[in-house]
């Protein structure tokens, strides 16, 4: 019933900004312009570097695309690297949701890879397929989890800055990997890799003649699991509250120490699973220096996805394409594969500078 007679009804609302402001000032348009600006800026910076390296920018970008999606084999490589990046991104996103900065995903992935390799190569060759795979993956998850747990425990009980400790432990993990390939399980005469894991411990393939295998399903399942934990469980609720306001969480009876430790254990488990995939799904053994900065690129993936476990999947595909594409640059355009790291770094910085991304600071 209209209430004109009483005069209580308010005037119909005037559409905000519809007359004076042009369509180009609408929020989605401005966001799109900013995104386009960021991408153009990155492409410009890359072109300068490519020219400095003595190559043709257009050919380089074509080679990048070819390298990522040019053949079924390359698509498979991109998919498997995306699986690894989904997991390392979750290793950053989970603590980030609770207000902590885990920049040790690289090291946690290394320890996961070491543990997976150790379990996978010491199983009896007659171990059934499912058991061998499960046990080896579990080894990696537990390894990464414990490595990150150190950071969580130090943060929870001594207040040590988790950003610095997790960063430092990366380098300790690199030394550990070197020890594994040179002393623990060396291949005589090679020196840079461990003995191979038993065939039963490797991920079954999904698409013949490509690197694509069931590891991709593991990554998707973990992403879905993390989404479910964060959205639909008491633990996830506590984690989110702690991230929004630690004081409010404490007042409400959340055990901050327990949540901190649990968060890091879960995050390390994700990174450890990434390590397991690199051993059981890609290389079949632990290689020294197997990671092309996957742990650090995972941070970029998580930021671009705004820490959403669902959005992390497409973001990981994007960064995996950059990574795999640039790995093939050397063969196709004579450019160093390090260009991949440069693209990732400058893309995230330009996204920040154009305010497409506005991350909140950690607790420090």
């Amino acid at each position: 019933m209209r209430m004109d007679s009483t005069g209580l009804a308010s005037a119909p609302p005037v559409a905000v900004g519809s007359r004076r402001d042009g369509w180009w000032k609408a929020a989605p348009v401005r966001a799109a312009v900013r995104l386009a600006g960021a991408l153009a800026l990155t492409a410009g910076l890359m072109s300068v570097l490519v020219i400095a390296l003595g190559a043709n920018p257009v050919e380089t970008f074509q080679a990048l695309w070819q390298g990522a999606f040019g053949s079924p084999f390359n698509v498979g490589s991109t998919a498997i690297v995306a699986a690894i990046l989904v997991l390392t991104a979750l290793a950053f996103a989970l603590p980030y949701t609770s207000g902590f900065l885990n920049v040790g995903g690289e090291g946690q992935m290394y320890v996961g890879a070491i543990a997976s390799a150790g379990v996978g190569l010491s199983l009896a060759p007659s171990t059934p397929v499912v058991v061998a795979l499960l046990v080896s993956v579990a080894g990696g998850v537990v390894g990464g989890s414990l490595w990150a747990g150190v950071v969580g425990v130090l943060r929870a009980w001594t207040g040590a800055n988790e950003m610095i400790t997790s960063l430092m432990l990366n380098f300790v993990a690199f030394a550990l990997a070197n020890y594994a390939v040179s002393v623990l399980w060396p291949v005589p005469g090679v020196g840079q890799q461990t003995q191979p894991v038993i065939p039963a411990a490797r991920f079954p393939e999904l698409w013949t003649n490509t690197p694509l295998n069931t590891a991709v399903l593991l990554a998707l399942a973990v992403a879905a699991g993390v989404w479910w934990i964060l959205r639909h469980t008491r633990l996830g609720f506590k984690m989110r509250v702690t991230g929004l306001s630690e004081g409010a969480a404490r007042q409400a009876g959340v055990g901050i120490r327990g949540i901190t430790t649990t968060t890091f254990l879960l995050a390390g488990g994700c990174a450890g699973a990434a390590g397991a995939i690199s051993v059981l799904g890609v290389n079949g053994a632990l290689y020294n220096g197997f990671s092309a900065d996957y742990g650090f690129i995972g941070i970029a993936v998580a930021l671009v996805a705004r820490s959403s476990p669902i959005l992390i999947v497409p973001a990981a595909v994007l960064f995996a394409a950059l990574r795999v594409g640039s790995d093939n640059l050397f063969a196709n355009a004579g450019i160093s594969p390090s260009l991949g790291a440069v693209i990732v770094g400058s893309l995230v910085i330009t996204l920040l500078a154009t305010r497409v991304l506005r991350p909140t600071a950690g607790k420090g």
Binding site: M163, T165, M168, F171, G340, A341, L352, A361
Partner: protein, 306 residues
């Protein structure tokens, strides 16, 4: 452990301390002004690469230092614009800048390989002091780069405590709104501090090259810029304490090269010694856990509230 082995350990430790010390002083000044600069690892790598370029093409120590310095100032201006001018998230920007810089130096390194030159920095035994048994050999018979870096410690302390500029810099990190009320630009003081910090880190990278092989190797900074973050915490943002902490970490770094001469430790795998400096930095952060960062660290200045 024999006497000679111990002296050799400390001598190498002092040499390894220098790049870390320069990076730590840079980080210290930057954090005092309220900017956490994780990008110094990238600054070090860039400084190291370009110092090596200058040295391999001119054979001059001065040219190496000068190009390292120039690169430091330039990257400092870029970082100051990102951290202070645009007010971006310092931790993420710094980390991504480091990934970027390490990638750039790796790509350039593969394109332009350099030949080893050997150290060009002349050694300078200090008269009288270098004749003291043990101590003289350990601390007073080094290259001029070592003395130069150590001399910067009192200079930094004096800058922060004894000059108006330094006090205002500290104020920009502790209480930026007070500085703003007093009529000074918080952004200016922070930007200058970031430029100074990045320059010192780039010089640290340059020294890493100039004091050793004279040649850049991809990944040679090996996280020294990150270790500096831990050094600053345990040193409680005092340059003098940073010197002490850097010396200890330098000696733990030296162990991996000198341990073969120490019989009792020969059976320990070398990877333990490689990992030790990083574990020392973790320990430093745990010991310094009650350390209070300058209040405004990581908070961009966006003007007075209300």
């Amino acid at each position: 452990m024999s006497e000679a082995a111990f002296i050799a350990l400390v001598v190498v430790g002092v040499q390894l301390m220098v790049p870390l010390l320069l990076a730590s002083l840079g980080e210290l000044i930057s954090e005092r002004a309220g900017v956490l600069n994780i990008g110094i690892e990238g600054c070090m790598a860039l400084g190291a690469f370009f110092a090596a370029v200058a040295v391999t093409s001119t054979d001059s120590l001065i040219a190496g230092l000068a190009l390292g310095l120039a690169v430091g100032v330039l990257t400092g201006i870029v970082l100051a614009w990102l951290y202070v001018g645009l007010g971006l998230n310092q931790i993420i920007t710094g980390l991504m800048f480091t990934i970027l810089a390490l990638g750039v130096t790796a790509a350039l390194f593969e394109r332009y390989t350099q030949s080893a030159k050997g150290t060009l920095a002349p050694r300078l035994p200090i008269p009288l002091l270098s004749d003291i048994p043990w101590i003289g050999e350990m601390f007073f018979d080094h290259s001029i780069l070592v003395y130069g870096a150590v001399a910067l410690v009192p200079v930094c302390a004096w800058f922060l405590k004894g000059t108006w500029w330094g006090l205002r810099t500290t104020s920009a990190g502790e209480n930026p709104s007070a500085l703003d009320s007093a009529g000074y630009s918080v952004r200016l003081y922070r930007s200058i501090a970031v430029v100074i910090g990045s320059t010192l880190a780039a010089l640290g990278g340059a020294v890493l090259v100039l004091a050793t092989s004279g040649r850049f190797v991809s990944g040679m900074t090996a996280g020294r810029g990150f270790i500096a973050l831990g050094v600053v915490v345990v040193a409680r943002w005092y340059p003098g304490r940073a010197l002490l902490v850097c010396l200890l970490i330098g000696i733990t770094q030296a162990l991996q090269f000198q341990v073969a001469a120490i019989d009792a430790l020969e059976s320990v795998p070398v990877d333990v010694w490689v990992a030790l400096p990083y574990l020392a930095a973790v320990l430093a952060v745990v010991i310094g856990r009650r350390a209070r960062y300058p209040s405004a660290t990581t908070i961009p200045w966006i003007g007075q509230k209300g």
